[in-house]
Amino acid sequence: MTVILAFLVLVALAAGLWLSQQRLASKPWLETGIAPLAGHGPGRAPGFIFIAVFLAVAGGLFAMLGSAFVMQIDETPWELVPLPGRVWLNTALLLLASLFMQFVVISARAGTTRWLRASLIAASIATLAFLAGQAQVWIALTSGGYPLDGPPAASFFYLITGLHGLHVLGGIIALAAICLRHAGGGDVKALLPGVRLCALYWHGLLAFWLMLFALLQGWGNAFLALCRAAVT
């Protein structure tokens, strides 16, 4: 359970930071009058908080998967699935998609329609290419003797990449809905709140994928072995 506990430490740090701004040591029974609310202001719109909290939940989900994966490696003599080189390309595509989404935000903020459209198309293509690439990896593994009901390491690969892909797909649908809602509207800046949320979501999914990719490659094992040795 090292992975999920490490993730929860990060969540606890963020929660602690937020709590430290809430005047938890104040004496409300002695105070009357209208007190200012902490943690409100530009950039803290409900939608932003919604996505941030949702990313924490999704992060918990992937960390749990990571934990289950590591636990099984620890208990059974497994061989990791030899991942095809295409996974590296997919990782690069998701990284690009995340970068392009940031360009979308910058363009929307600046109000430049041409750049916004170009970066939006680029981000969408990179994301869809990532999904197609993951599907291609599935096909390669299945035909290479690692089907879904094969060794548990293969099952984990399909499950982890599948759930991550579903989250990416959900992001694409949300992005399309935002663009369609504002299609034909003259004001590019009206897109800004929506694409900011999408960009945050893309960055989050990229971070999760990098963590999962490292685990699936077996890079986390040495670190986790060190943690276990420290505990036991």
């Binding site: 007190a35 409100h40 749990m64 009901d149």
Partner: protein, 591 residues
Amino acid sequence: MTDILPEHDSNLPPREVADVMPPHAHSWIGKYVFSQDAKYIAIQYSGTAAAIGLVALVLSWLMRLQLGFPGLFDFITPEAYYQFVTMHGMIMVIYLLTAIFLGGFGNYLIPLMVGARDMVFPFVNMLSYWIYLLAVLVLVASFFVPGGPTGAGWTLSPPQAVLSGTPGGAQSGIILMLVSLILFIIGFTMGGLNYAVTVLQARTRGMTMMRLPLTVWGIFTATVMALLAFPALFVACVMMLFDRLLGTSFFMPTLVELGEKLSYGGGSPIAFQHLFWFFGHPEVYIVALPAFGIVSDLIAVHARKNVFGYRMMVWAIVIIGALSFIVWAHHMYVSGMHPWFGFFFATTTLIIAIPTAIKVYNWILTLWKGDIHLTLPMLFALGFIVTFVNGGLTGLFLGNVVVDVPLSDTMFVVAHFHMVMGVAPIMVIFGAIYHWYPKITGRMLNEAMGQIHFWVTFIGAYAVFFPMHYVGLVGVPRRYFEIGEPAFLTAPVDGLNAFISSAALIVGAVQVLFLFNIFWSLRHGLAAGGNPWRATSLEWQTPETPPRHGNWGDDLPNVYRWAYDYSVPGAPKDYVAQNDPWVPDSGGRRL
């Protein structure tokens, strides 16, 4: 006293949160069926949870009939008994307690108590309820499929949960259970995101976190915990569903069934236990923390006294929430673990007793020298404290490895967790319904029926679960369809089991009276007025009772103080509402 921004209403600081009226439905279906109003959604959640809870109650009767009078009822087969146990446990913990505290009380109280017009995302909130209802319907459907519902026990432990020897294992029962849980978690996540963001971002002007009623603190913290803990159950359910349907071996070791080697191999059943209990233990506090918060408010209102140690109460809620994530393996002592881990989990388990004890002491000190009104909410609050202390103390025993190992598979554990997370939170739910029913309906619940309900429930619950501790201590194992009088029992338990079962039937029956009271009082209850308990928190200050769509009329309230100004010296009344700008020691001056 410290005044913060002591300005006149005409010179108020700008609102941090925009006052946006939520979408208003005009059709009957939009208003009452697919409602986006959190108050209606709360009632939908509570009604559905109560209905499925009644099914679980009947299942508990059937179990007790078998244990109290073995052999008397032919229709209760061993398979059926295990199905009753499984469905009773799962329904009560997930579909009743979690749903009613967060979906029911959370939806009704959060927007009103923080001074918001509604949840921040009303449409998502509505979806949350309908997915929850779908989860319940899928669960109920499992009673009607060939083989019936799963009988794997509420912990659904693999590999037995998906094998043919377990009721529903090789048929659809386990599939429907897992699908239902997955749906529940998706639905809850939608609702939970709403509860959290509403508390974080929709508080009205002046409602700082340290002015929130403890009810909101409890529900908010429990929501955050649930959002972080339910993914563990989600992952476990998806993986087990894959094992059952797609032939993977996440939790399935190499197995031989009826002399035939199965296609499974290489999986780890213990991994499932870790995932399940990583959700399962926080779940105890997901239920308990809202109960802690609500009971704090009930005691303060009905003892006319400010809650003792508010800051400590808030800190204790947060600390309990955090600690509950590092104790899960105390449910797995008998599964075996490294001795150091056993020591670690026993220590963290016992440490949780400290903030919990702080809360208990603070409730008692709130009552101390209070103007105690033995109203129905107060009676149930007192019943909760006593029951929670009893259940908590046996938890201290079971937190120790050496005590837990011999007791873990006995009825002692059944008695313990029913006291601490069955009876105790149910007491709070009843108290809360008696307390907030006047706000929801505008009428009071009938007092005489309520008194009968309380005393029969309270005494009856003790008649059920006190002797059950003894039954466990003399060695009666749990999860057994029939035990007879084996040599390892140190005393006969037949008579005691019959007594417990009789008491359980009576306690269950009196809940029918409670339900009757709910419906009867809708029409015949005394008119309540806007604030019958003379309470300070914002939900009692709405312009109309029951509150209308948007809650607050034309203007959102401003909050000038915390939620516990009772019996304040010099105040014109024995309470000062949170939105009352009265200034202490000012000769009647208002901010």
